[in-house]
């Protein structure tokens, strides 16, 4: 027991793509499978772990998520759920994409799930033109090709705006 408390107090330093350093408690870092594997395989002997794909703003968000989940006891699942839904609530699309890519890179399953779900919810039940505008997807179908795609899976478009 004593040793696990000692371990919990260990800290490591993460460095964002834009050079900012974050001092993180080990038990918080363990929310990331990537960091967990690095710690397990003793790759973390370096003082600073660089995360070249993640900028400081995103890394701060990610670590905020990890800290909340690492500190909460399992009995507080309801509290965590409301934290999760608030966490992404007013986030702009750019930040959301940065976050989902960071969660993917750092292998943080819970964060990956809620970020992917948030993107899916943005697509769901919206007219396709609106989805294209939100995500800046250029429609490069010719009208004939688009009609053929709709025809091919006509059942999927029934009732769609």
């Amino acid at each position: 027991m004593a040793s696990s408390i000692e371990n919990n107090n260990e800290k490591l330093t993460l460095k964002s793509s834009d050079g900012e350093e974050f001092l993180v408690e080990k038990h918080v870092a363990l929310q990331s499978t990537l960091l967990q594997n690095m710690l397990d395989s003793d790759c973390s002997s370096a003082d600073v772990i660089p995360l070249p794909k993640i900028d400081a703003r995103t890394l701060a968000l990610v670590l905020g998520y990890c800290k909340k989940h690492a500190d909460a006891s399992s009995s507080k699942q309801g509290e965590l759920n409301s934290f999760d839904s608030e966490f992404l609530k007013d986030m702009d699309m750019g930040a959301l994409f940065n976050l989902v890519l960071a969660a993917n890179f750092m292998e943080i399953k819970g964060l990956l799930d809620i970020a992917a779900q948030k993107i899916a919810d943005t697509i769901k039940d919206k007219p396709h033109q609106e989805v294209r505008e939100i995500f800046h997807v250029e429609n490069d179908y010719t009208p004939e090709e688009e009609a053929a795609v709709r025809e091919e899976n006509r059942w999927a478009f029934e009732g769609f705006p």
């Binding site: 699309m93 750019g94 994409f97 989902v100 890519l101 993917n104 990956l112 799930d113 992917a116 779900q117 993107i119 899916a120 919810d121 697509i123 769901k124 039940d125 396709h128 989805v131 294209r132 995500f135 800046h136 997807v137 250029e138 429609n139 490069d140 179908y141 090709e145 688009e146 795609v149 709709r150 091919e152 899976n153 006509r154 059942w155 999927a156 478009f157 029934e158 769609f160």
Partner: protein, 275 residues
Amino acid sequence: MICIFFWLTRTNLGSKSKRHKLSKKQNVLQVEDRISNLPGNLISRILSSLPTKSAVATSVLSTRWKQFWTLVTSLEFDCRKVCFLNSPYFHFQFVQSKFSCYSRIFDQVECRGMKHVQEMDSELPVFPNLTSLVLGAGYVGWEWLSQFLEKSPCLESLVFKEGYQSDHYRDEYYEEGDSEGDDKPLLCRPPENVPSCLRSNLKIIKFVNFQGDDGELKMVEYFLKNAEVLGAAGLAVAKQQLEVTTNLLMLPRSSKTCQIEFVIRRYNFCTGSFY
């Protein structure tokens, strides 16, 4: 996996010139299409968080999205009859089985307003990530199913939400005396080839509305015989059909760990479903 990356790279190249054209008109930062450029595993995760119908409908967004939905990890065709009539896979079934036992039923369907059936490009795509398939239609044919399984190498769970009610559809589409003697159009033989997912991945199979007719029994027999790593076969049966279950328990199983589980079927009026 290599195939996906190759395909993503290829589609990437295809869209570059278009995007370049657009950037002349508008600020590049404003039109950056980040969602289409996500790695395949993230696209798969996002589309898997959508209902199947919405996921398939994203195919209309752009040429790159045409096949993205095939990266999903689960598919649930819950549309009973009508919408399936228009899907290419339904057409696929028709084309593949033009000379087999299904043709007559499709003739009927065609008479009811199906057009251009044979003109469709009905090639089934590969579903590289698919682990869960739920079929809400009771009339899924062997031809279609075995092709689909062949294209889904990672499939772990297969659920027949409406059982496999070949007789029900036969009664509906055929008039009295229409199928006589040995001519039983809907009782197809299971395929001789065994899709690879049965050999290495399929762990769960469920019949939610098991009626115990010949077609269904053949289906269960086939899966027990060929699914080598099957962990559980679940059948929801009506109480009066429990006698069928003894026969099922006698069927040979290739998986030594397979448990057959019977559940007395109950209808949940709130959700409109069994279990």
